[in-house]
Symmetry: C2
Subunit: 603 residues, 2 copies
């Protein structure tokens, strides 16, 4: 049995961030969310946690080992995936937060976020099938015609049909302006698509009776580059008059990729050979529609980092507490045993605490973003809605990038905690390293996220996005400057925030003259931003915990652990922020000076 089987959904911590750190009860004051009381949310999380543990986790290792197979154009998912998928749909997990008008449950996105974490923890490869459908739903919901919505959204909600995002081609991933797939108008409102797409997750499989491909392609008269991209809906089977899968469309899976991980998910090469499609949205405006889908997907990928981080942490802890090796440096702790648990060793604890601090801090950040998504959609005041959306825009690249880096780090620390056993397949930890790795790449590599933050979000609307973060943080620092409970944190928070402000000014200024300065700073800037965000969140969490302890509320051990983790973050992780600040300050020179030959001249 793999060590990862001990996982339990961290519902206790989810409740803490939703109800103590933030105030999720506000959700039920929004129109349409009236039923989403704290009690209902908590019950949903409990149920979801059990379902994922019981139904998805047992298929995680077997799915990795078996992988997907392609035979005569038919892709088979690993044993058990179909049955689990059917149950997943029956339990409504495909439609948690979607519009009741199309059969959705209409719960807040905040609930969806938390559930997503659990899905990833228990089976990331599986979770990508409904995950892609969700992205497809969003794009059609926001950009499709009424007829398209009526036709496709109910099927996506029930999970009978699934969806994909077809962007990448062999010669282009990041630079979508280069795509070659063509869409010719057939005169009847439909288009004929021809081209090849690669790296299409869930591109072909046996879980659903139909697959709805959203495909970026170019019209015959399209302008060059990204201004000439349109979005098309291409169903695997063309729906007949009863909206049941009818004629097989001209899209075929030619090959599935052999990958480092997520073997349970079919990554397909798709050929479109006169495939019939319909345009979603306006001609040549496909990229904007795709970005709607992409932004949601980026947040989802950030949650993948957190999901992997959580199960890696729990599993590593589970191993460490039972593995005896050596004696405590402070003297024997378990004289009745041949060795002490490796949890006595400071360096093992250091690894576990890094994981824990990133996970719980990341969960606080995720909840903050998710609550703002709901606010941006449902709040009565349009100004509040806009502000909330600004904040989500700002934080999207940060959670995608930082949390997927943290997820990979956690999986690797999990392996390291387990020593040789971490490297052996049967224990299940090395799979997490392989699965986690893709999250740093897809939906825009983490380097692209950093450029999005530093090059686009930072300057957007004269810094309007940025103010949604800078303003509450500076207010918080001011308000807590004399708060004795905050005194152990707030000085370091202020320093880190000061570096972030300075770095922001510096990038804004130097970037005006030379955009390469922005590129050279971007990754370190994103990391500095994320660390400052976590510092802000950890200080708040510690204050909440201290208050609860004073009031004698709840589980004292829980709050003490929170405070200890906050202290660990501040003393043993936050110091990296200064290094990032210094590296940013060094500017682009040392990065751009090397000419092409200089890279290869030593060999």
């Amino acid at each position: 049995m793999p060590i990862t089987d001990a996982y339990n959904a961290p519902v206790k911590d989810m409740k803490f961030v939703l109800h103590e750190l933030w105030d999720a009860s506000e959700l039920s004051t929004y129109e349409g969310y009236e039923d989403a009381s704290p009690d209902l949310i908590d019950a949903m999380l409990e149920e979801a946690g059990k379902f994922m543990k019981n139904e998805l986790l047992p298929l995680n290792q077997s799915g990795d080992r078996e992988g997907c197979t392609l035979e005569n154009g038919v892709v088979r998912t690993p044993k058990g995936f179909k049955e689990a998928y059917d149950k997943y749909c029956e339990n409504g997990f495909t439609a948690l937060s979607t519009d009741p008008k199309y059969g959705g449950t209409g719960l807040p996105h905040t609930v969806e976020f938390m559930v997503q974490e659990m899905v990833v923890s228990t089976n990331m490869a599986f979770g990508m099938y409904p995950g892609l459908s969700h992205g497809c739903y969003n794009a059609i919901y926001l950009h499709g015609s009424e007829a398209q919505k009526d036709q496709y959204l109910p099927k996506l909600n029930t999970g009978e049909w699934s969806g994909t995002m077809c962007l990448t081609e062999p010669h282009c991933g990041t630079d979508l302006g280069l795509i070659k797939t063509k869409a010719e108008p057939m005169g009847d409102g439909s288009f004929s698509l021809n081209g090849q797409k690669i790296f299409i997750s869930a591109g072909e499989h046996d879980l659903t009776e139909n697959i709805v491909h959203l495909v970026l392609a170019k019209l015959p008269d399209a302008p060059e580059g990204v201004k000439g991209i349109s979005l098309f809906l291409v169903p695997k089977f063309i729906p007949n008059e009863n909206n049941e899968p009818g004629q097989r469309n001209g899209v075929r899976c030619n090959a599935i990729e052999e990958k480092m991980g997520i073997h349970g998910n079919a990554t397909c090469q798709l050929f479109f050979d006169g495939a019939v499609g319909w345009m979603v949205g306006q001609p040549n405006k496909g990229l904007a529609a795709m970005f709607t889908m992409m932004n949601a997907a980026r947040l989802g990928v950030g949650m993948q980092g957190l999901g992997i981080g959580e199960i890696a942490f729990q599993s590593a802890f589970d191993y460490a507490k039972d593995r005896g090796q050596g004696r405590s440096l402070a003297g024997t702790q378990s004289p009745d045993k041949p060795a002490d648990s490796i949890l006595v060793h400071p360096d093992v604890r250091r690894m576990l605490l890094r994981m824990k601090a990133n996970n719980e801090g990341g969960r606080a950040m995720a909840a903050w973003i998710a609550l703002n998504i709901d606010k941006s959609l449902k709040h009565a005041d349009p100004e509040v809605r806009e502000q909330a959306d600004d904040f989500v825009q700002l934080m999207t690249p940060i959670i995608k990038s930082y949390m997927t880096d943290a997820g990979s780090e956690a999986a690797n620390l999990g392996v390291q905690t387990m020593g040789g056993h971490g490297y052996i397949e049967e224990w299940g930890m090395e799979q997490l390293v392989r699965d986690a790795r893709i999250a740093q790449i897809y939906e825009g590599t983490n380097g692209i996220q950093a450029l999005d933050l530093a090059g686009r979000k930072l300057g957007a609307h004269y810094g309007r996005y940025l103010r949604t973060f800078f303003h509450p943080v500076s207010t918080f620092i001011e308000e807590n400057a004399m708060n004795p409970d905050a005194s152990e944190f707030v000085g370091d928070l202020a320093k880190s925030f000061g570096w972030l402000q300075q770095a922001t000014g510096q990038i804004a200024q130097s970037g005006l003259k030379d955009p390469e300065e922005v590129g050279a700073a971007s990754s370190d800037y994103l990391r500095l931003f994320a660390l400052t965000t976590l510092a802000y969140l950890w200080c708040q969490m510690a204050l909440k915990a201290k208050a609860a302890l004073k009031e004698g509320r709840g589980d004292a051990a829980f709050y003490e652990a929170k405070i200890n983790t906050a202290r660990f973050f501040y003393k043993r992780m936050l110091p990296e922020a200064q290094a990032m600040f210094k590296m940013i300050g060094a500017g682009k020179d040392t990065i751009m000076a090397m000419d092409e030959d200089g890279f290869s001249i030593a060999a």
Copy 2:
């Protein structure tokens, strides 16, 4: 064809570190090394580079895919391994640096080190077979009886027989005091061994006619713990009177592990069932003998980090220069092409430069250590020999730990540079991530290395080891304080060195009262030490390069690239040193405060 096939052995850089940074011509002044002239060394490196590229690299990906198989106790290595191994032996690579008395070539260990890097770059899994033999050779050479040496060393040198190190058991890896394998004296000088060993690399295979297992086991009357461990030599086939493989011994491979990587190497579970063995060295002194082997192995594992780092760098660069995606932030660079090479993007360059700076800095460090190994063995003056050995002792955990971390980082940066293609098996980069990962674990996890450095090496002989590093660095800083060529570096070097000195004093002091303080500081201390070492080396390399440019010697582009890389290291990597210093300064409190329940209370 995988992207990694473009690899070329970095002989040019090896020559630079051997002959310009250091002075390898000194080697030929040592007794026994008279033939090892710079010209001969260079010729050897050229030849070795070609051999590894032509013979080992083509088997790297196929070996990973095919893996090893076990059937009826017989382990088969991947297709082509046996033929390549025979050529490897014919070309003398199994005996490069071993004693001519036993058929070795007797070249300096420095040459062996450089060749090892190439072996790992081209085929790490393959390289472990002769690598383990080499460790086995060393242990017998230093601790075996004359008869054992005469019997086994010539066979290990020709490569006809291979070797293993059998330490780990299911319940103990790091804590070898817990081993259960028993060795009973049979009265005729031989012993009967019973027990189980796991994770035995190259434990069984079809490359050689015999395998020499070195096995840690306990005598019936052995004291408890590490003071009761003895070392035994257990051949797979007991040599007959002609020293040819005779009767099959009672050691069997029960299973081979399914691992994350190094699939071409058989990681075996071995059962010793009344296996006949002979003691190597003294009763109950096996751990010391094993540590001889282990220390050499740790240096070898450090070279694995470097080897993976180098091929990851070269391959990522090769991909980046040909992959067009987007346009330069400074304006279009290749107007005739649909996109610029991704090498124009600052963040791609940042990743490549990190890899390059660690590789070339690590190679300089490796050469420094290797030259000191040769000095410690061959120098005429015993005081010089002792000093050189002290230095090697000090640096062993640093190169093992830092360079294997850097190797994994490089492989991951390689994947990141390639985006989605990095995650796909056929491109070859993700294999490097999987292969590299084990090097951070085996021969003592990197956490154990850090404890070895901070807990053992730091205080050894009242700081005698430490002085072999601190003294030359402080002299160098003094000497170059006013050197205008050094002025861009030496201030930062002095700062980092100052932090290292302060951290050393702090650990030494707090550790006296509380050894957990040492454990809590160890990993960050090792990293601070490594960064300071690299800073010292990069400053020296930049000075050598500046001098060469002034004198108009050699290839100006090579020296300019060196200087650029030095600047990158100082501005964009060395700042991490201060963060490490701060984390060390925080002490153990935040690490040790959490009780066991606190770790798991959030779920």
